[in-house]
Symmetry: D2
Subunit: 150 residues, 4 copies
């Protein structure tokens, strides 16, 4: 439903979708606890899907907060590395998340857009929806610190 996935001429990619996926699975194998995949990557934004199973639920049958946090956080990491390349040690410095509605049963997806890509800090907005739905169930703003590079 969002318009995040329009290419934004101010940005250019450093990695394509497959290079990005291979690299992040290699340097961050623990992210595999959450079964994510990159659906789309364009200059300025990304769409990431996440498979949800029973381990990710909380009372009431809703997807747990840590699972949605993990989706927002990995989407931000992926979109940033998609634009800056193989900088594994980029780390989250802050993340603000609003849980807006009960997620539908089934898988989730995140659309994540860069709103600043500086040398040291990058900030993104993330919208989480059901896989086949356009109602925003969670919204996040994440800031990452980018380590100095040679």
């Amino acid at each position: 439903m969002t318009d995040f996935l329009q290419p934004d001429a101010r940005y250019s990619l450093a990695l394509n979708k497959d290079e990005l996926t291979v690299y992040v699975r290699e340097v961050f194998p623990q992210s595999g606890t959450y079964r994510w995949s990159v659906e789309e990557l364009v200059p300025g934004s990304i769409k990431v899907a996440m498979e949800i199973d029973d381990d990710h639920l909380r009372p009431g049958g809703t997807v747990s907060g840590p699972t949605m946090f993990a989706l927002a956080d990995v989407a931000a990491y992926l979109v940033i590395l998609g634009h800056i390349g193989k900088v594994a040690l980029a780390v989250t410095t802050s993340l603000n998340i609003n849980f807006l509605a009960k997620p539908p049963a089934g898988n989730l997806q995140a659309e994540c857009r860069l709103i600043k890509l500086g040398k040291r800090l990058a900030t993104c907005e993330v919208h989480i929806t059901g896989a086949h739905d356009n109602n925003i169930v969670a919204q996040a703003t994440a800031t990452y610190s980018i380590p100095p590079r040679d």
Copy 2:
């Protein structure tokens, strides 16, 4: 290092530490993915420990963001239920987390203090430190929505 665990006369407990633990393990078994335990519970605040294993690490050997989010979120859920009783369906409406320092190797703990306990909303501050350390590695503010009760 914080002074959260001074009893605050404006609050009174609805459950003791053991009742709270038994109840949350029962209604929220998925929280057991993260091996938490309640160390202390006093009017107004709580201390929660979390065992960290390799699944909770990210590149650079640091504890992952979702793990610290989960610790902040469960600490807030526990302190709120400790004061309002068996209200399983309290849900996080927003959580803002700042990652301040690289966590030390080993387990983590959270000290969490109520700053508002209203009928419909409760807000807490959370400080995460190493288990044997008093340097704050992450700070969070969480707001929960409390469903109407009979």
Copy 3:
């Protein structure tokens, strides 16, 4: 630069731009400390301009944080009342703001989009830019509480 001002078919307006302006100036005269005007109002989003003078600057000649907070906050109030009508007592419950770049000299504008409009809570994203620029200098997420209506 943002695409906020595309009409969103999920929303419909309760007031037009002029009705909204007259009403808010009447019930919230103190907002006039900040010289705002509604530039555009469409279903789902709004554009609000703010005139900046020397009182709104901080060391280094940059627009002060409270000024940008005020712009984000009034834009959120305006877009919500544009959709729910004359509910003066809607109040901010939380606002998270990221200051991303030094604002250019001159006036500012905010584009603000509803991401949830519930019965009791409404949440918006806000992007602040210079008046003739599309670089985002501040990004905010605001949640308002809407009082019960007859």
Copy 4:
């Protein structure tokens, strides 16, 4: 009501209360729009009072969001400069504020505590109460960027 104003042995002051006040009034005269004064300054924390007049109110007679934002923001600026000295160009990078209760009539105060003081970033927690009250009406977390020094 908070315990912020216990001296924290991990911190030491660079300026005393009067030096700090004189310096900030000089480099940031616009902050005088909000009539603040430093009540107490100890290693690790500060108490700042703010006089409220009619210009700072919003519909319903409550203190406006920008006013409480300004109080939180200036308290953070003051506590940081109290510890790092005359670094006028420290700037807010993010501020998250929760409005918890309707403020009482009259003046406000903020207690603000450092939770991290790094070389480049400093983070504080702020509790805003009435001047003669200990009910927290707003809670904020602020992060400032500290420019490199010679």
